[in-house]
Symmetry: C2
Subunit: 240 residues, 2 copies
């Protein structure tokens, strides 16, 4: 067990922060950790918008579906896929292939996770904010994103003011397959649902009577941000 | 500086491995590190196919564009977005929203980066293999992926048998913006191009005369895996 693995295994999403700022040297380390990430074909398609303006933070907290920690976290970083950089260098660049949107999303995930882990190793905490995509167009305009650049998610970082339990994950036997895809064993899901029912009923905040299956399949049976395709297409992305 | 940040900043892609296996306890730690990753709305939409079959590895090495380390690495993990799991639990689930493909790609990136960093902290090395998407349909069939599940990228892991230089990244002033998107300063790119020209000309393998701008804008001016949209749509993904 390395201290990196300990940091990784100790992850909890933190949504309550003290007022303490993240000092400049720590923030610099967090950013440098992000920059060190792998990048598909070295394209380097990520832009990070660090939002320090208090009014913009309040607005983003609202646009993310009223998540107050977007405003109260010491730092809020918005991860965007960004092909405008390459287009500026060479206007023959046309990033409208769906492939390039996949690259943008994967590379933002990799880079952001470096930032989050760097922060967690420093005793800080954070949470991803996919809710920005609920108001993608409005967030985009607020941050003045150009064509070929699209908002993906935010990352709150700060000094934790809560110590939530670890949230149980699906076990390795469900996630990891050998040599070929193995059909789901519903017994594994039933067992996990029991674990999650106990977790939801006993956790320190947002207690509820529910199971993992109920939670996720009800989300996925409805419409899931149906405006996202139009948003990306409008930015000249994911068109073909 | 924490040891996690040291691990992150020391990242190099490793493409040459010794014959030594990764021991079972280390592999278990790497997998558990992946499972501990954040997951959008706790959907848990990642499946990992661990490929141990030698013939499948050879075939994947070819399908990835003849990358021999896909066959020679101690471990090769294929990261897939997987909504078939949720569909099996509840057939009312319809994961054809583009939003859900974004979630799949971001969450695979986050989880895979946990695995890579866990491995690197153990003295192992690895490299992402986006090249699998060059033959997405063939890889999909080889791994027997069901509907609603799509291949994204692979990850080679093993004991390094090379010690490449650090590859210079775009500087923070290009990647990080404050409060709103800042137009690209081409002076920053010219400076970075000089750094990368020196890197490409002097690195231990695959030396070339080129700059970052030349490399990436020539890639992006052409077609970028134009079959990916059809592949995803065929899997019932990213349709609307």
């Amino acid at each position: 067990m390395t201290s990196t693995i300990e940091t990784i295994l100790s992850h909890r999403s933190i949504r309550k922060f003290t007022d303490q700022a993240i000092d400049a040297a720590q923030l610099e380390s967090i950013v440098q950790a992000g920059l060190a990430a792998s990048s598909s074909s070295m394209l380097q398609v990520v832009s990070i918008i660090r939002v320090t303006d208090k009014e913009k933070r309040q607005r983003l907290a609202h646009l993310a579906g009223d998540q107050p920690y977007v405003a109260s976290a010491a730092e809020f970083l918005v991860f965007c896929m960004d092909y405008q950089r390459h287009f500026t260098i060479n206007p023959q660049v046309n990033p409208d292939f769906t492939e390039l949107t996949l690259i943008g999303a994967v590379d933002c995930g990799i880079m952001a996770q470096n930032c989050l882990l760097a922060a967690e190793s420093l005793g800080l905490g954070g949470v991803y904010i996919g809710g920005l995509r609920s108001s993608a167009q409005e967030v985009d305009e607020l941050l003045n994103l150009p064509q070929h650049s699209a908002v993906l998610f935010g990352l709150c970082l700060g000094h934790p003011d809560q110590a939530p339990q670890l949230k149980p994950r699906l076990p390795a036997k469900v996630i990891v397959h050998e040599n070929q895809y193995q059909p789901l064993n519903l017994d594994d899901i039933n067992e996990y649902d029991k674990t999650m029912q106990a977790y939801y009923a006993s956790r320190s905040s947002n207690q509820k009577q529910s199971s993992w299956s109920q939670e996720v399949t009800s989300k996925l049976a409805g419409e899931c941000r149906p405006h996202i395709k139009g948003y990306l297409n409008g930015k000249g992305l994911a068109k073909r």
